[in-house]
């Protein structure tokens, strides 16, 4: 029998980026907020000690900071004709665990989506006709870029994002991304120093008529104090961003931007190593009453609250809705139902690896978002009318790291081990650059999430099942963009070059991207979305589901900036409207 605890105004599941933002905003609005985090407490000096954080084996290979399958696994299959099997190790994507969530180990690419991304269905239908997108299950977000522009701005200033604006108040800015939506002001910090590979890429791209620019980075180009008064240091280009906590307070994470202020608040509490088991509803099923959680000693608690925020990784939010019986499950046969709907990912492939004899890149100097990119073939920035796909990809080159275990490019035909391999890695290290493409991922009827009928977690709850393969549209898109990448790459005259290609058969083993989206998507129509434009559950009015789970489909660039902008957007609606008049906001 769960022990009944005194009620709180707000309970938040998960203290990563969105949980921290919601907690900061709602405590500032005077509410008493409790965060339940199933992972451990983590802070910079104790957990990301500069003496041992750059340990590639421990953190990048053995993945110490990530969710472990023993705590929560998932099953996967490519389509409904297959039987899903559990992933025994997280490989293709790496959910975070612990305070800070995946915000601890991200690279820090701090993007906005394009205005047309938010109205994908309407925009593409208007421009190309409904037939063009008939094979896809595209939806509008129910919110526009202009509506959340100020939320992007808040997040970028929270992070101290280093970048160059492309369009300010409608005016194109030299050196920025001319395709971006109009922003209200410049980034808070200038771009990072540009590495050699990015300089070469920019020059080659410009010669081909493209518009390269420095990627907005939540790796700080200079010391910074954010609007909460929290100070950050300057990035040292150490090359240990992704998969690592930052030891230098120079990557924006909940720990380096919000938590110092939040944890001192008397109306905030975090209980770590406490895992939410389910959300309990009132008998009418229209509002949530409490959450049940279990602590590290195995004790059960029932925590009543007036407002419940699901702020876990997107996939966990969706699973929690299934486990709590909230919202109608999606059925891929009929296309009806909302929970599990429009699961999308990120489309890769189509990248080039360039080998040189006469160029030295010093790849050990890097940062997660130390990249230059061109968006000429992103989203709908180019005419698709004569092409057999919609969507697009960024074309980029950068230098995130040159770490000793994983960063050993070798020419094709090199043995995988032995003296010849050693000689090849020694000869090529530092003489290789990549030009890659990160592509959009659009929804189709057959890609979705539900509960696995067979496999359960250590508490006996069904695992989440991912049914996913790369849609034909996205593969055609990525391989077309690959031909554009190839043009840029060839113009640099490498000694040797290899090209990747996108293809069918998503495999959960090799790392691809921790950009899983959808499953509890936002929208204006309760028949096709699980949450409304304020991320409020259509079915349970005191439940908000915050995260990339809300994306109706995924754009080409990294999702974190939009996740956090949506967190501010939801927080505003709660603060300005919901608190005064609890109930449906839309």
């Amino acid at each position: 029998m769960a022990k009944l605890l005194p009620r709180k105004d707000v309970v938040i599941m998960g203290l990563g980026w969105t949980g921290s933002i919601l907690a900061q905003e709602l405590t500032s609005a005077g509410l008493d907020v409790l965060a339940l985090e199933r992972g451990p407490w983590r802070d910079t000096a104790n957990d990301f000690n500069i003496g041992y954080m750059p340990d590639e084996l421990r953190y990048a290979i053995r993945k110490e900071l990530f969710l472990q399958p023993a705590q929560e696994a998932m099953t996967m299959r490519n389509n409904v004709s297959q039987t899903a099997l559990p992933m025994r190790d997280y490989g293709s994507f790496l959910p975070g665990a612990g305070v800070g969530g995946a915000g601890v180990h991200w690279n820090g690419q701090c993007w906005r989506y394009d205005p047309s991304d938010f109205i994908a269905k309407t925009h593409l239908t208007q421009r190309y006709g409904a037939k063009k997108i008939a094979d896809l299950q595209l939806q509008d977000w129910g919110v526009t870029f202009d509506e959340i522009e100020h939320c992007y701005d808040r997040y970028e200033y929270l992070c101290g994002t280093s970048g160059k604006a492309g369009v300010i108040k409608g005016q194109v800015q030299p050196g920025g991304n001319p395709f971006e939506g109009s922003r209200s002001r410049e980034y808070p910090n200038p771009p990072l120093k540009r590495p050699y590979c990015a300089s070469l890429f920019e020059e080659a791209a410009r010669n081909l008529g493209l518009h390269p620019f420095p990627v907005p980075a939540a790796n700080l180009s200079r010391p910074y104090i954010n609007p909460l008064g929290v100070a950050m240091g300057e990035c040292t280009y150490c090359g240990y961003c992704e998969r690592f906590g930052c030891a230098n307070y120079s990557k924006s994470t909940p720990q380096t931007t919000i938590l110092p202020v939040l944890i001192k608040k008397k109306n905030f509490e975090v209980r770590t190593e406490c895992e939410v088991m389910k959300i309990n509803l009132h008998p009418d099923g229209k509002t949530a009453k409490s959450v049940t959680y279990i602590d590290s000693s195995g004790n059960d608690y029932e925590q009543p609250a007036d407002l419940i925020m699901l702020c876990g990784y997107g996939l966990m939010n969706v699973r929690m809705m299934f486990l709590s019986g909230i919202g109608k499950p999606y059925d891929p046969k009929t296309g009806e139902g909302v929970v599990g709907r429009n699961y999308c990912y990120q489309t890769g492939g189509g990248g080039a690896t360039l080998f040189f004899d006469d160029k030295r890149f010093n790849p050990f100097m890097g940062a997660g978002a130390l990249i230059s990119s061109a968006h000429d073939f992103n989203g709908d920035n180019f005419d698709h009318s004569k092409l057999d796909f919609v969507g697009g990809a960024s074309i980029s080159s950068g230098q995130s790291n040159g770490r000793p275990i994983s960063s050993r490019p070798t020419p094709p035909g090199t043995p995988r081990w032995g003296s010849k391999w050693k000689a090849a890695t020694a000869a090529t290290y530092g003489h290789v650059m990549n030009i890659g493409g990160s592509g959009s991922s659009y929804a189709i009827r057959g890609n979705y999430l539900d509960l696995d009928p067979t496999y359960t977690d250590r508490h006996g709850r069904p695992l989440l099942r991912l049914t996913f393969d790369f849609p034909d549209n996205d593969i055609r898109m990525q391989n077309w963009v690959g031909t554009q990448v190839e043009k840029v790459a060839r113009s640099l005259n490498p000694k040797l070059m290899t090209m990747g290609r996108a293809g069918k058969g998503w495999n959960s083993v090799p790392y691809q991207s921790t950009h899983n989206t959808g499953g509890a998507v936002m929208g204006a129509d309760p028949k096709t979305s699980a949450v409304n434009r304020y991320l409020q559950s259509w079915d349970v009015s005191n439940l908000f589901v915050i995260g990339a789970s809300a994306y109706p489909q995924n754009a080409a660039v990294n999702p974190t900036g939009t996740v956090c902008a949506l967190a501010y957007w939801a927080a505003e609606a709660i603060r300005d409207r919901y608190i005064k008049h609890p109930g449906k906001l839309a």
Partner: protein
């Protein structure tokens, strides 16, 4: 009801409140402010404990002294004390039963506080939550465990008479002098002590306590705050850092609980006074860069410290303190530096500077000789000059901190 009757009623009510012992509003507010200036809460609150409920053990050369419970609990606090008894304890070091307090309670400084302000502190403490918490007995070694000896100590070292006013000084200086040498009791930590724990030698030139070296805060250009502008002293006390140094350890508590809450005028007064406190002699000349310890220290610094503190030792003003020109780095004793490198430390957290960044521990990574060489290098580079750090000092600190 007419106005006269109403006033009469109010007066009766007020006198009834007095009769019941309820302190008046103005006195409680004055006491809250005076208690903040005197930083009562820092010593009288145990880590993680209830405010003013005592239990913090002050490590002294004579053994541990436990700060008592000063909440208004009748049995375990000061609930049964009278105001007069309280004033005598705070200002003369004599408890209600006639027992002598140990001068870990800085009554030689508090003697400067007026009876009215001290009484106000009493009134304020009557309003805090009473906590039943019997603090454990002091763990002083013989003969210091004999309280009666404190009568002799007082005879030798206690000068309760306030000093003559320096009428030629500015009002700010005089206010600063009072705050520093009265309620602020800065010298309790920052002034050198004689073998009996009494202030001795040149005031405010730094002293060792509780495993830290409370630095020189005189106007000495290198070891003190002589190179700081008054506004930088104010910023330091208000926020915990000022781009030249950053508070952590016991001073972080003082800043969080006391100086960050002081008025800007009081902080400016403290700065005006400290800027005129004469410092000691010149520090030694910097060691040559080709000294063996310096060369090894430079290499180790590059591998371990440079990421935050920079190759020029200038840190990053908003988050990592500079080492170049930082007085804390150039004290006679490297005790604080050794401690920080071995055991880690966290900066003060104040409303205007909430980050409270922390330095990680390096005890597991660096041996005693390496720590000594790094610190010798840091203390003698970029214009810094201070005594070399012997490896033995690191060994001693490591043992005291129980780090292996």
């Amino acid at each position: 009801m007419n106005r006269a009757a109403f006033l009469l009623l109010m007066m009766l009510a007020a006198s009834a409140a007095h009769a019941a012992g309820a302190p008046d509003y103005a006195s409680v507010q004055a006491g809250r402010s005076a208690a903040m200036l005197a930083d009562c809460i820092s010593c009288h609150t145990a880590p993680g404990g209830k405010p003013f409920a005592g239990g913090l053990v002050l490590e002294t050369p004579f053994g541990g002294i436990t700060a008592p419970n000063i909440t208004p609990d009748n049995d375990t606090g000061i609930g049964s004390w009278t105001k007069e008894e309280f004033v005598r304890a705070v200002k003369a070091g004599i408890g209600p039963n006639g027992r002598h307090l140990y001068p870990a309670m800085p009554y030689p400084y508090y003697a400067r506080i007026s009876d009215a302000d001290t009484g106000a502190i009493f009134d304020y403490l009557q309003t805090v939550t009473a906590v039943r918490n019997r603090v454990r007995a002091n763990a002083l070694r013989f003969p210091f465990n004999i309280r009666g000896l404190m009568a002799s100590w007082n005879l030798l070292f206690f000068r309760p008479a306030p000093p003559a006013p320096h009428t030629d000084k500015s009002a700010a200086w005089q206010r600063g002098e009072y705050l520093v040498n009265g309620p602020g009791h800065c010298g309790a930590c920052h002034s050198p002590k004689n073998p009996f724990g009494a202030d001795a030698g040149r005031a405010l030139t730094g002293a060792s306590l509780q495993g830290w070296f409370a630095p020189d805060i005189t106007a000495h250009a290198q070891r003190g705050i002589g190179a700081w502008r008054e506004s930088e002293v104010v910023t330091y006390l208000k926020t915990g850092h000022n781009g030249r140094s950053m508070a952590s350890g016991p001073m972080a508590e003082v800043i969080e609980n006391s100086t960050a809450q002081m008025s800007d005028a009081d902080l400016a007064a403290i700065a005006a006074y400290l800027k005129e406190v004469p410092g000691g002699g010149a520090p030694p000349r910097a060691l040559a860069a080709d000294d063996g310890h310096m060369k090894r220290g430079a290499a180790l610094y590059e591998d371990n410290c440079l990421g935050c503190h920079n190759s020029r030792g200038n840190g990053q003003s908003v988050i990592f303190p500079p080492l170049a020109g930082n007085p804390v780095v150039q004290q006679k004793s490297a005790e604080t530096l050794i401690r920080v490198v071995l055991a880690s430390t966290q900066a003060a957290q104040t409303p205007r500077a909430p980050t409270a960044a922390a330095m990680p521990s390096f005890a597991w990574r660096l041996n005693d000789a390496q720590v000594a060489d790094i610190l010798t290098y840091v203390r003698n580079s970029w214009g810094n000059a201070a005594e070399a750090v012997p490896a033995g000092a690191v060994t001693k600190s490591r043992a005291a901190l129980q780090l292996h």
